[in-house]
């Protein structure tokens, strides 16, 4: 029985580890400035925890086989209540490992979440509602117009869904879209809002996720570094249509972005 356990535990360890090491399934391609740092820290954590996993499982399998009862030929049991030196040693070692790992990643977190967006960032207000994402650009005046809950008409979509107050002069040049378009290599400031329940704005390729919470306007930022289409998902359970609360982030060159924005502004006139 000891041998069966050893084989099972070792095989499971081998197979599980293979798919991680072979990267059969792995993180999606990272297309933001923060992605390499996050992915690197993921890999470091992955290697350290992977070693712990493999060593502990191999040891478990080996020990249950080695110390199986073998009738009268069994070796004498070691009568021991433990070893304080070893207890202290592995307490200190695991503390260093876990806390050290944590501190190593703190600078990335700080740069992602502690500092505000740069002054020249593209500002996009992102609003989640059951079950769609809307994106609003402030237009040439740099000001978002007022929105009013009582003006909201979700079925009409676009500006009406956000309850944009057209009487407010600042709202005249606001652009509301169902697709998020941003220029490459420029920081994007997102201002996250939600109308009804909590949603979560998740762009896997940007290594970006943040809940959109009703009653809060959450300011965040990221910098896309590759042009192309990126899928946007909702990552917080928001109701029956959660699975289809899908959007698209198009990262384009600055020229294309300017052209696209000019077209949207022209449509408004």
């Amino acid at each position: 029985m000891g041998l069966i356990l050893l084989i099972i535990i070792w095989l499971i360890t081998l197979v599980s580890t293979y798919f991680f090491v072979a990267k059969t399934w792995w993180l999606p391609v990272g297309a933001s400035a923060a992605a390499p740092g996050i992915d690197h820290h993921f890999t470091v954590t992955f290697i350290l925890m992977g070693v712990v996993f493999v060593v502990a499982q191999l040891a478990l399998g080996y020990l249950v086989w080695l110390y199986r009862e073998r009738g009268s030929s069994s070796s004498k049991v070691t009568y021991s209540h433990g070893n304080t030196t070893m207890e202290i040693a592995w307490t200190v070692l695991t503390t260093i490992l876990f806390v050290g790992l944590n501190l190593a990643s703190s600078s990335i977190w700080a740069s992602e979440r502690f500092r505000p967006a740069e002054a020249n960032a593209v500002r996009v207000e992102v609003t989640g509602m059951q079950f769609a994402w809307y994106f609003r650009y402030p237009g040439p005046d740099g000001q978002f117009g007022a929105t009013k809950p009582e003006l909201e008409d979700a079925s009409a979509g676009g500006e009406a869904a956000l309850g944009l107050d057209t009487k407010d002069p600042a709202s005249k040049d606001d652009v509301v879209t169902g697709t998020m378009v941003v220029p490459v290599n420029r920081e994007v400031e997102v201002i996250l809002r939600a109308h009804d329940v909590i949603h979560s704005f998740f762009i896997p390729t940007m290594r970006f996720k943040q809940d959109a919470v009703p009653g809060l306007a959450i300011h965040m930022h990221f910098t896309p570094v590759q042009t192309g289409d990126n899928e946007i998902l909702c990552a917080e359970l928001c109701g029956l249509g959660h699975y289809k609360m899908h959007g698209m982030l198009k990262v384009v060159s600055q020229q294309e972005f300017d052209k696209w924005m000019a077209e949207r502004e022209a449509e408004k006139q």
Partner: protein, 581 residues
């Protein structure tokens, strides 16, 4: 202290009841109540498992029509998610290890005739039972059961118009949890008092089996955590029905104002996770105690580092209250607090690692008997390790950005608080079945049950890590709307097939359980040659546990293979041995 203990014990002695109702239904006997909890959990686990099977079927065959349910709509799927999680966490993982085995064996292991408050004990079971009935009732009301997930995040859970199932079904869901909290609070008081006041002469705290330490600390966690959830639940009910706005700011549903303003959705998350994280340890600590016990018994060796194990249980319990914010890194709470929650969470890995080292240290140099309880204890260690090492990924906010609310999270918590705890329950069942029913369970069936469960668990939950890394979000009823998820559907299929096989393996357990109850081999009083007090009494134990005798304890709980001793185990009630501490 000793005199006081005896006085306490005598005042709690009560005559053996006559008649079916007093003996088996409204019983005051902790052993009967323990069995009641156990069978309630057994019923609940089959409901929960059935729901998970339907989820798995729907995920890979979204258009399939199912018997009883017909077409599964997206909201039906979310209902399954919600009820599976809630039933498993409350009525299985909290109910069986603590209410079931704790009730049955804590008094016997510490040498007491019953729990400190037998009437309270009976009330706590029937309260829990009522909670279960109300929970199941949620399926049958108009609109059905809620779809807001077991975490019940507001405003989704606070607004009747937020979705199907958020009407009466959601009210019943909250009421059921509130009732459960009341039952759990009564139970916690009883466990704490019993442990402190009812120990037999010589049963010092540091001679208690680690199972008792685990139940004791779990009870303290329960006392501190369930009160908070209860208050949160009451506030949520008020938001839903009385027009208050604790958790709901000004929101519109489909463009319609709801009349709420000024509340904080994050407040619910704080209250919920202040309960929710300790709850993880409420589920796993008894399994840890169980596993420690069994590794020692079946390695025929003292537990490695008894004191370190006790301190580790305490440290886990203590730190468990300071880490709730790691569920909220992406919630919009201050990013600065993430630092503190993250460090505390990583710190909780230290006592967990100590326990793992000590389990391996216990096996080292032993003479291992591969009995059915031991198989599940070894399986527990393996699952605890694999479930544990994904913790440091999620505990770091930087990595949580990508992994939060993906399948990586269900992979992590199912392995550690779900299946590892379930393995603890299985191990305890195989181990104590002879004491509870006077018969042995079938070892061959148990071996097959173990193989199905152990391999099946890895087959189901290992791939969920891969899904999570690849960015598959949780709680998606269909995987067809997002292009990059299409590539991952084969992996989902594999998980569903694995679930079929694993669940089929659980039928072996059920057959073994009920067959052995009537047809199993007769058990002796101490079939495992173990040292703790439950093995010094008759099988099954008499009404007062020790047949009028009051045990006196002279030794620690894990004196195996003591040099010079006549047998390879020294009972706790045997004359004192020199080498014991």
């Amino acid at each position: 202290m000793a005199t006081h203990e005896f006085a306490a014990q005598e005042s709690h002695a009560h005559a053996a009841p006559q008649g079916f109702i007093r003996k088996w239904v409204f019983s005051l006997d902790h052993k009967v109540i323990g069995l009641q909890y156990y069978f309630l959990a057994l019923a609940a686990v089959f409901v929960g498992m059935f729901l998970s099977l339907l989820m798995r079927i729907h995920l890979i065959w979204p258009t399939a029509t199912l018997p009883l349910l017909g077409d599964i709509k997206p909201e039906t799927y979310l209902t399954l998610v919600t009820m599976h999680g809630t039933i498993m966490v409350f009525f299985v993982l909290t109910t069986a290890p603590q209410g079931g085995f704790g009730n049955y064996f804590l008094p016997i292991q510490i040498g007491a005739p019953d729990m400190a408050f037998p009437v309270l004990n009976m009330l706590s079971f029937w309260t829990t039972f009522l909670g279960f009935v109300v929970m199941i009732a949620a399926f049958f009301v108009a609109g059905g059961a809620p779809l807001h997930g077991w975490t019940g995040y507001a405003p989704l859970s606070a607004l009747q118009s937020a979705g199907p199932g958020e009407g009466l079904g959601a009210d019943l869901w909250i009421i059921s949890i509130a009732i459960f909290c009341i039952g759990a609070l009564m139970g916690a008081l009883n466990f704490i008092t019993t442990t402190l006041d009812m120990r037999a002469k010589g049963m010092t705290m540091m001679r208690m089996p680690l199972t008792c330490w685990a139940w004791f600390v779990t009870a303290i966690l329960g006392l501190l955590a369930f009160g908070v959830l209860l208050s949160g639940g009451i506030l949520l009910l008020m938001d839903r029905n009385l027009g208050t706005s604790f958790f709901v700011p000004l929101v519109t549903i489909n463009g319609q104002l709801t009349g709420h303003r000024g509340g904080s959705p994050l407040l619910w998350q704080h209250l919920f996770w202040f309960f929710g994280h300790p709850e993880v340890y409420i589920a796993i600590l008894p399994a840890m105690g169980m596993c420690s016990q069994l590794l020692s018994v079946f390695s025929r060796k003292p537990i490695f580092g008894y004191k370190a194990m006790v301190y580790a249980i305490m440290a886990i319990g203590f730190l468990g209250f300071m880490v709730w914010g790691h569920h909220m890194f992406m919630s919009g709470m201050s990013p600065y607090t993430a630092f503190a929650f993250s460090i505390m969470t990583m710190a909780i890995g230290v006592p967990s690692a100590i326990k793992t080292f000590n389990w391996l240290g216990t096996l080292w140099g032993g003479r291992i008997r591969f009995t059915s309880p031991m198989l599940f204890a070894i399986g527990f260690v393996s699952l605890f390790v694999v479930g544990g090492i994904s913790g440091p990924f999620l505990a770091q906010p930087v990595l949580d950005i990508q992994l939060h609310d993906t399948y990586f999270v269900p992979a992590h918590f199912h392995l550690i608080m779900g299946v590892a705890s379930i393995f603890g329950i299985f191990a305890a069942t195989y181990y104590w079945f002879p004491k509870m029913f006077g018969r042995m369970m079938n070892e061959t069936l148990a071996l097959w049950h173990f193989l199905f469960s152990f391999i099946g668990t890895y087959a189901i939950f290992m791939p969920m890590h891969y899904l999570g890394m690849a960015g598959m979000p949780r709680r998606y009823s269909q995987l067809t709307e997002v292009a990059y998820l299409h590539n991952l559907i084969p992996l989902q299929k594999f998980i569903t097939y694995a679930a079929f096989v694993t669940i089929a393996g659980q039928l072996i357990f059920v057959v073994n359980l009920f067959w052995s109850m009537f047809k199993g081999k007769k058990a002796s009083d101490n079939p495992w040659e173990a040292t703790t007090l439950e093995w010094t009494t008759a099988t099954p134990p008499p009404h007062d546990n020790f047949g009028g005798r009051t045990p006196v304890v002279h030794n620690g709980p894990y004196e195996y293979s003591v040099p010079g001793a006549p047998r390879d185990y020294v009972m706790q009630s045997d004359p004192e041995i020199k080498s014991a501490h």
